[in-house]
Assembly symmetry: D2
Homo-oligomer: 364 residues x 4
């Protein structure tokens, strides 16, 4: 006890809490509360659902990829009834389908619409403003819940302006921290819904978090080191400025897509308007195993490319370019992919790095 004092019940700690929560609001672009849970991102999905819904409630969800499917599974396990719109894992949410489904729900039995903003497994972005517009046009009162795990602080996202009710996120992607914090940004409407929602909840209960946060504290032992790290990371992000940060990621993503195109390969995401800027999922030519290719790249170049998940296992590998990345790290990464394609005997033109360099050198 004679050592350094980091008392999570002290006034100094409360200052940290206030500053972190205030800065998080700026990053989510909302004046409404943002809540932290000691958990993985999976926990933040669960928190969104158990606070706002009741057993048997119907929710609308879209099969845009692996993580949308996992979130669906969470909903099902918690006793919700999921209206599941199947998909081919190669594009974002289809807005006309959203409109159709909501139009058919005369009795407003759908209580929530679940969308993954940036599908980490496919690299496809869904149009959240478009989903909100479809909901408004249908005059549908369902809550809009959005997973921004691989988009926040990498791709433009606007919790308030887009009328999102619960935004789900976590610490280890755009916020550049180790895993360990699940995040919910919540609207007034979502908080109101929580007062009548009856799914059993204790750990994920927003109410004590909101109440304690007002005094600068948490209803659990907070992961102090992650909070200090979050404070640092948010400071860096806001100092650079969100718009500048988005442009930086856009530039890395563009360079990567230009390389893929020059290799003569295909993106997993088939809709050019829906590419996310935090990662790029590359579609493997038929007859070639993405994981075998990844294994070669890891063995030879000590670089760990993302694996294809779920349905696209073996068909896709993923290049991450979010977080602490610069031009030459990206160039090195693309060199690793290009050399790996050659070593793995994957048909390609060895011109991706050259094309990406041309783009990087000519853009700022």
């Amino acid at each position: 006890m004679a050592g350094p004092t980091i008392d999570h019940r002290s006034p100094k700690f409360a200052e940290l809490t206030y500053r972190v929560l205030d800065r998080l609001g700026k990053v989510f672009k909302t004046p409404d509360p943002v809540l932290l849970f000691p958990s993985s991102g999976t926990g933040a999905w669960e928190a969104a659902l158990v606070n706002t819904l009741s057993p048997g409630d119907r929710v609308l969800a879209f099969e845009t990829g692996h993580f949308a499917t996992l979130w669906r599974n969470v909903a099902t396990r918690l006793g919700l009834e999921v209206e599941w719109v199947e998909g081919d894992w190669r594009r974002g949410v289809d807005l006309s389908t959203v409109s159709d489904r909501l139009a058919n729900d005369d009795g407003h039995s759908l209580k929530a619409v679940l969308v993954v903003h940036s599908e980490t497994s496919t690299g496809a972005l869904s149009d959240i403003a478009g989903v909100r517009k479809a909901m408004d046009e249908a005059g549908h009162p369902a809550l809009l819940m959005v997973d921004t795990i691989s988009s926040l602080a990498s791709v433009d996202y606007r919790h308030k302006e887009w009328g999102v009710d619960v935004t789900v996120c976590c610490s280890q992607k755009g916020l550049m921290l180790p895993p360990g914090l699940g995040i919910n940004a919540v609207s007034r409407k979502a908080i109101d819904a929580s007062s009548s929602a009856t799914l059993a909840r204790s750990y994920w209960n927003w109410e004590p978090v909101l109440r304690m946060n007002e005094k600068g504290f948490f209803p659990y032992t907070p992961p102090t080191n992650l909070l200090y790290g979050l404070d640092e990371a948010l400071g860096m992000i806001l100092e650079e400025g969100l718009e500048k940060l988005f442009l930086r990621h856009r530039r890395f993503a563009e360079a990567t897509r230009i390389a893929v195109d020059a290799w003569g390969m295909e993106l997993c995401c088939l809709d050019p308007a829906s590419n996310t800027d935090s990662l790029t999922a590359v579609w493997m030519p038929d007859g070639h195993d993405a994981d075998e290719f990844r294994r070669i790249v890891l063995d030879r170049f000590d670089m760990s490319l993302g694996t294809g998940l779920g349905k696209v296992k073996g068909r896709v590998f993923r290049i991450g370019h979010l977080g602490d990345m610069n031009d030459l790290m990206l160039a090195g990464t693309l060199c690793g992919v290009e050399m790996g394609l050659g070593l793995a005997g994957v048909p390609h033109r060895a011109e991706g790095v050259a094309a990406a360099m041309k783009y990087l050198a000519s853009s700022v």
Copy 2:
């Protein structure tokens, strides 16, 4: 991606998982599985309950202090019915009460017995082997669940030998890590119970954790830095040896209790046989506010003593002596308390430090 490779889906990571889980078993003294969740200790309470019980199930719990009360609240919120044995927060679980309650439960409607081993709020230890004996003598099939948050790796604890079904713990006390990992050590009987338990669960579900752990992985993004830290901490603990570590904590606790006695003050825990060795809660003389005293100690000596929690707020302050502590750090801590008592005008004899030094110098 060109940076260092810590892929939580790689074979190297699997080795880490196996080693950590194996070492954890040694610390809990069990060959049965130990499961980790990215969460606070509160989450590990919830995990114990939702995996083994069904809505409306009855559980027996004892008001030994603040944390026992909080766990009770979790159970209630999750839809369980708690048979609550009230207490005065100044002793451990009364074994004859355990026997009585179980004897009265002819129909075995009680599905679980919940006990906090070391009550962090009061410094009282409950006799887990005794509770098991009472359950066995009553021939009662309820599950035994034990919170060891402030006892594991500080005070002797034996999951298997004492027949515990679910042990609840977390990372930030005896394991000397930052907060962020909730832990369940589970018996075969508990795992069996989980197959028929119907409380809704997704995040806390043991089944995917057990399944993925067998391959060395986790069903969520694991907090890799905490796992590396845990590996280090477990290595240090096992190198010192658990019995030696317990004696070390016993010695610090003895020195502290000797100081309290020499000050002419009282422990919160009224039963000398039930003092825990990880912390000491000191009872404030009537008319003196423990928090005012704590404030003076923090201001003057930059030392943060534990506050009285819940019912004993203002009546108790707590001296921690677990984790990375040595004789002179403890002596410095006691000096801070003794000087603080004087500055706060709390009646005492200024002989506690001298008595503790006498003890520390004469024991090894």
Copy 3:
């Protein structure tokens, strides 16, 4: 090269250099240059001599303790002739002796006066302002060189006001850094002397350092990590404020001396007006070996007290209280000494800790 850029020839590095050198001047209390060498403190002694003196030059030096003796040895080895004023290692420089020696030096053959400000081996402080006054009164033109290795940033020191020509220091005491930087603060007169001094010099040559520092660089590969650390440390020191920092060390030193007195023991330094505040050297009763006592304290309490050096080996042990120290760390240290005295069978009254606590609690 694609990694982080810390180029010690970049403009950004130059800014660091300017800031560090400016802040160092504030701590030495001089507007004149301060020079850094990648070296131990021993190197800074050598730098002071080789830059200002010529083979065979006579210097006046005083046997105040171990480090004064070592500095004398450096001078001798470099080919200087040392007029050595013997001493008993239990007090600072005697000012009347300074006056006498200078008065006797009609021909001004003495080119420099060497004084250790705070003798780390004895805890005795020499009166630098008094030495300057004696030199001025004697109208003697010799250079005044002062070793502040264990006084800078712990005890009041004024390079400019006290008319010091070369101040010698290093990184690992009051500046709270690892060892690795030797320091010279120099007067205009010293720089002038360097232009005619003929002792061979290359590494220690001030001229290229002064020249390169003006552009923000160094004539050698600078220990960048130490410079970053120095920048941090100087920021902390100046934020606390030197006067406040001196009072803090005074208070720790007072508490320690009060404990020594209460133990019925003697200080190494026999002149109460000359105690330094950065450490306390305690004189062992006849027939008791200080190193045997130190060994016991290390074995039992993992605390490493300073050994007696040179002439006072076995007669003295040293308690350090400079750098990052607080009340309870000091109290813990004194507890370790008091328990150790008992275990080692050294005659004493076990009342030192109590007396120190009384003082610490009543002073701020």
Copy 4:
């Protein structure tokens, strides 16, 4: 003092000293002593000279580049007479010149031959075994002194086998540490020479270092953190194995030279047999300023290429590839150079990265 104990006079510290010195010998490939000084590499040059030579002694030195010239300057400043063999900074030491000069020195007035193994400013390697052979054939008794600052632990080096008397090195290149340690590996003959050498010396004196090292200590306050780091670094180097490490650096150097060739550019080093493997110095086409190019690369890609030093300022830029480097970091570095050449309008073919990738992918 109650904090962690790192006492540089303790038995535990002695173990560290023994292990570090033993491992250093393996890296220098010598059973003879290796000595450490808290200093930059410049200090290690000075130590080599002052321990073995006397005022006015003649030494033979070769103008292979900037660092050879600086070492010459040190020798001159210390009062030695340097026989200086001029050069064009684009090749290593010419062996026939060595033979000629020694043959002409009938009276053996040359007391030492000074050679820089790997010239950091030019990328040219000198043939140390060849120099030794020339000395042996001439039957010349001069000491052979070699600077290995940018070759040790990157390029094959054999202190004992090549009959080197003093090897000069430092911490911040192949040993991958921060700057702060100067190193001398010494032969028996060099130690013998030191007993009659009369250059003034104190700080750099080998004798007390050798004497104290035998007990595991140092005659100065050692830079403990660097020693711990050195222990780690040596462990890593010996675990990888020196021969494997040399091949790794050879491969990076080859890839870089292939890229330079494919760009249609010239190396600074004109002798293909004398390229060092720790860095590559590239010669700028006439009319193009290397520093203007470097500025563009720093601004646009945050990569700091080495500047041309001394005579080749503006004519040369340097690519480092020693220490902690992997294929993709090197590839990223080469991408930065290639893009920078384009942006700076330097005539080149943009085919260097492609050629380097081809080589890296086909070699292991």
